[in-house]
């Protein structure tokens, strides 16, 4: 298995920029998830409104069933889950720690958003495709190894026999 990533001149700095920009996407968008009004359930707005689009404008029937019968009836739990996942996505991509793992989680979260709002009115479908593709790029280039915490710590993880270090080598 090839375990090194070589980018052409300027490539490492550009991928670090892309990683931080994608982190900013999650940082900014975690900000409007507010538990004070049960994540919009009280006034049917915010996260509750957008999640409900998965039922009103179905994209993928199994996901629609899951949202209608599991997510919406337990919305505060899923609201907190969304808030914490997106907060952590912003944080770990900003620091560049375990970047490939968080890129995969970002792909998953982007897919969930896509399945919720792709057919909703006034949405630009390429926004969601580009979100997914940006995370694919972070995963493919192991972007945390360039000007990120993965780049600092990975050599010591590779030398370590500990199980957490072995996992972090895979996640970075």
């Amino acid at each position: 298995m090839v375990d090194t990533v070589t980018l052409p001149r300027g490539g490492p700095a550009m991928m670090a920029f892309v990683r931080v920009a994608v982190a900013c996407l999650w940082i900014q968008n975690s900000g409007w998830k507010t538990p004070g009004d049960d994540f919009g359930r009280m006034g049917r707005r915010g996260l509750y409104l957008f999640t409900g689009y998965a039922v009103e404008h179905p994209v993928f029937p199994p996901f629609t069933w899951f949202v209608e019968h599991v997510v919406l009836p337990n919305f505060v739990i899923f609201g907190w889950l969304t808030l914490l996942v997106e907060t952590a996505l912003g944080a770990f991509l900003l620091a560049g720690l375990a970047t490939r793992l968080w890129a995969l989680i970002g792909i998953g979260q982007s897919l969930a958003i896509t399945f919720s709002v792709l057919y909703a009115p006034h949405e630009w479908h390429w926004s969601y495709f580009l979100m997914i593709l940006a995370h694919v790029a972070l995963f493919a280039t192991a972007a945390g190894r360039f000007y990120g915490a993965d780049g600092l710590l990975r050599p010591s993880w590779e030398r370590s026999p500990n199980l957490p270090a072995r996992w972090l080598v895979r996640f970075s």
Partner: protein
């Protein structure tokens, strides 16, 4: 200056610069909610991180990182329990958590002799 020290310095500078968002409101440019109560945290911990990087002090980098992580957890506790000290949002918590994770990583990076 070695890579982990430069990384700590960069994260400290980013924190100090983030204070400018106290003057920025709404989409698309308000990347993070920075209130009057949150600005001192961003500046004081940011300067601490800058000093830790410039002076090449790994324990100081770890300390600054731990303080950022605690500040992020405080914001999340504010959101959960409805009290207001920093008056931040999850975006504030996300930024501070990222800076904290980065600084702890810098402080824990082994320095080759």
């Amino acid at each position: 200056m070695r890579a982990p020290d430069r990384f700590a310095l960069a994260l400290g500078v980013a924190s100090v610069l983030s204070a400018v968002f106290v003057f920025v409101h709404g989409d698309p440019w308000q990347l993070v909610k920075m209130t009057g109560q949150a600005v001192p945290v961003a500046i004081v911990l940011g300067v601490l991180a800058c000093l830790a990087g410039a002076l090449r002090r790994p324990p100081m980098q770890t300390t600054a990182g731990a303080l950022f992580v605690l500040s992020a957890l405080l914001v999340l506790a504010e959101l959960a329990f409805g009290f207001s000290l920093t008056a931040g949002s999850a975006s504030t918590a996300s930024l501070w958590l990222g800076l904290g994770i980065g600084l702890v990583s810098a402080g824990r990076t082994p320095r080759e002799p």
